[in-house]
């Protein structure tokens, strides 16, 4: 009887620990989000979104230049990574023999796990040394980060396409390439798009790859991609290293904007992904 009670108590304690652990994770998320919101909300105004950074040491100013730059960087990166990622995924699921697919899969997973600062240094070595920092170099670095994410997301939806659909098309005498382009891709386009949005959300917040490729920028709105593009993550990083409380306030507000974008984009993408997956699986 005693032994039975002890077992029940141990069970209770363990259940309690697991519940508390989950609560701690949710609480940390809440604390981070709320403290960024509380400190950042004060500096957010119309001017904050429409004016570029103030000159050094002067009050006021906004982050318009960084917002424009981040949008440009992420769009260019997406345009570079999307075709390569999707084509790689098609190769892996539709064409490759297992013997070939496994090593490529390993390499893509390795790419996903590489420290982002190493990717930044690689692009620095490839495109910046001997030239200057540029938006293109920054976008290329972000594209390398997005590539494995898009490839993996695409692969997952392609694998979900029922093989009956594939076989039906082939049985009708449709060529493989038309099956892929006309049957398989259209039924997985939703999943590919949401995977891309997730990758964009991830890339928008990356700082390390931009540190070496697009960090020394002007405080005016810049749309010339051969020059370094101002961007929100590097702005937050530089402001956070300064002792000036006014800059800290701007950093908090910029962090709030960035975080809101990233969280909303990931939430929306995940909701869509769950829906399109349900549609495919039936």
């Amino acid at each position: 009887m005693n032994r039975y009670r002890r077992r029940r108590i141990v069970n209770r304690v363990m259940e309690l620990i697991a519940t508390v652990a989950a609560l701690v994770a949710v609480a940390v998320l809440a604390i981070v989000v709320l403290s960024v919101a509380k400190r950042g909300a004060g500096a957010i105004s119309w001017d904050f979104f429409t004016k570029p950074q103030a000159l050094f040491g002067q009050p006021g100013g906004g982050i318009a230049n960084a917002i424009v730059g981040t949008v440009l960087l992420v769009l260019m990166a997406g345009a570079m990574a999307l075709p390569v990622g999707v084509l790689t995924a098609i190769y892996l699921t539709e064409f490759a023999a297992r013997r070939v697919a496994v090593p490529i899969q390993v390499v893509i997973d390795v790419l996903a796990g590489l420290p982002t600062i190493v990717i930044g240094i690689f692009v620095y070595a490839l495109l910046v040394i001997g030239h200057t920092q540029s938006g293109l170099a920054g976008a290329f670095a972000l594209a390398i980060i997005m590539l494995p994410l898009i490839a993996r997301a695409t692969q997952e939806v392609l694998l979900l396409v029922p093989s009956t659909l594939r076989e039906a098309s082939l049985a009708l005498g449709v060529r493989r390439w038309r099956t892929v382009l006309g049957v398989i891709l259209p039924s997985s386009v939703g999943g590919i798009l949401t995977g891309t949005v997730l990758a964009v959300a991830r890339a928008a917040g990356e700082t390390a790859p931009l540190l070496f490729t697009s960090s020394i920028f002007a405080n005016t709105v810049q749309t010339d991609v051969t020059k370094p593009l101002p961007n929100i993550p590097v702005l937050i990083f530089t402001y956070s290293e300064q002792p000036d409380p006014a800059l800290h306030e701007q950093a908090w507000a910029a962090a709030l904007v960035l975080m809101a974008f990233v969280l909303v984009a990931s939430l929306a993408a995940k909701a869509l992904l769950a829906r399109s997956r349900r549609k495919l699986v039936g």
């Binding site: 084509l87 790689t88 590539l147 009708l172 937050i236 990233v262 990931s266």
Partner: protein, 323 residues
């Protein structure tokens, strides 16, 4: 493919040819994309090693054990940064592993249906917070909190252990960096563990319960043994992430080359040293030495990654590591 033309043999042949060309083109195009991924990884490794060449020629492998980093005297060594990387990552792993496994168990076994999805997505959102935002919070909120409340308490109660030395005033140091890294890797390890726990066959779980095991005994006797290697792989993936994180760590670690027992003083990791020296580096030798640090980081990251993948693939050969 519209109506199949059967009228003229010439048309039919042209049609077949086009089909074969289309297959060939798509196959070739996708193969080229996949090949580009291989080339990319190769180029990354090659470029970093090439840039590290000058420092490697000068210092050789002694660079790894060198304790000085002096741009004025042109003497560079990586040991303080390897120490910083090892300490922050290990402390983060020690803190994160039990927490993440507990969260995984809660999400897979305990949480009521309605709560499960919500808590699960909240944990995943934690992983989506950009590291620079987490670092900003770390430097201005978490650091001071740890310095004024947690570190003095650890020092006064556990101060006999040399790990818990004198607390710092600024809150910038190894310990703060480790806590930030913990926050970053818990959601990664927790979501992989949840998937693994959910994958354990129901029959086994119900069998254990039917034999009279309590839920915890079922977890300890069935779920954990069945998923042990997968969880290990998840933890190693988390380690890889912790090793390579540059930005958030740079913001909260303070910088320095001290090597000692205490967890509280400022230091640098491999990644944070590279990130914080990005503008200041003067001589070619200093830049090359930074690249040598990046090469060490690359090797460590590759090892962590490949080990995790080998473990994962051993029992799920079709799909690779998920994150």
């Amino acid at each position: 493919m519209s109506a199949v033309p059967t009228s003229s043999p010439l048309q039919a042949r042209r049609h077949r040819l086009r089909g074969r060309l289309g297959d060939l083109a798509l196959h070739g195009l996708t193969l080229a994309a996949a090949f580009a991924c291989l080339v990319l990884v190769g180029a990354i490794v090659w470029k970093i090693l090439e840039l590290a060449g000058e420092a490697f020629d000068r210092f050789g492998l002694a660079f790894i054990t060198g304790r000085t980093w002096d741009p004025v005297k042109h003497v560079f060594g990586a040991l303080p940064f390897i120490y910083g990387t090892a300490v922050t990552s290990l402390v983060a792993l020690v803190l994160a592993t039990p927490l993440a496994i507990a969260i995984g168990l809660y999400l897979s076994e305990l949480a009521p249906r309605g709560v499960r999805g919500i808590v699960g997505s909240l944990v995943e959102l934690l992983a989506a917070i950009p590291s620079v935002v987490l670092g900003l919070w770390g430097i201005l909120v978490l650091g001071p909190f740890l310095a004024h409340h947690v570190e003095p308490w650890l020092h006064s109660t556990l101060g006999f252990i040399p790990l818990f030395g004198d607390p710092q005033q600024t809150g910038q140091g190894l310990f703060t960096a480790a806590v930030i890294l913990t926050i970053m890797i818990v959601p990664i390890v927790a979501s992989i563990s949840r998937e693994l726990f959910l994958g354990v066959p129901r029959d086994l779980e119900e069998g254990a319960l039917a034999l009279g095991a309590t839920r915890w005994e079922m977890v300890r006797g069935v779920i954990l043994p069945a998923t042990r290697s997968g969880v290990a792989a998840a933890v190693i993936l988390g380690l890889g992430r912790a090793l390579g994180e540059a930005i958030a760590v740079t913001q909260v670690i303070g910088g320095g080359t001290r090597i000692g027992w205490s967890l509280f003083p400022p230091a640098d990791t491999l990644a944070s040293k590279i990130a914080s020296s990005y503008q200041g580096a003067g001589s070619g030798l200093e830049i090359s030495s930074l690249m040598y640090l990046a090469a060490i980081l690359l090797v460590l990251g590759l090892i962590a990654n490949l080990v995790a993948q080998v473990i994962v693939r051993r029992f799920d050969p079709l799909r690779g590591a998920r994150s």
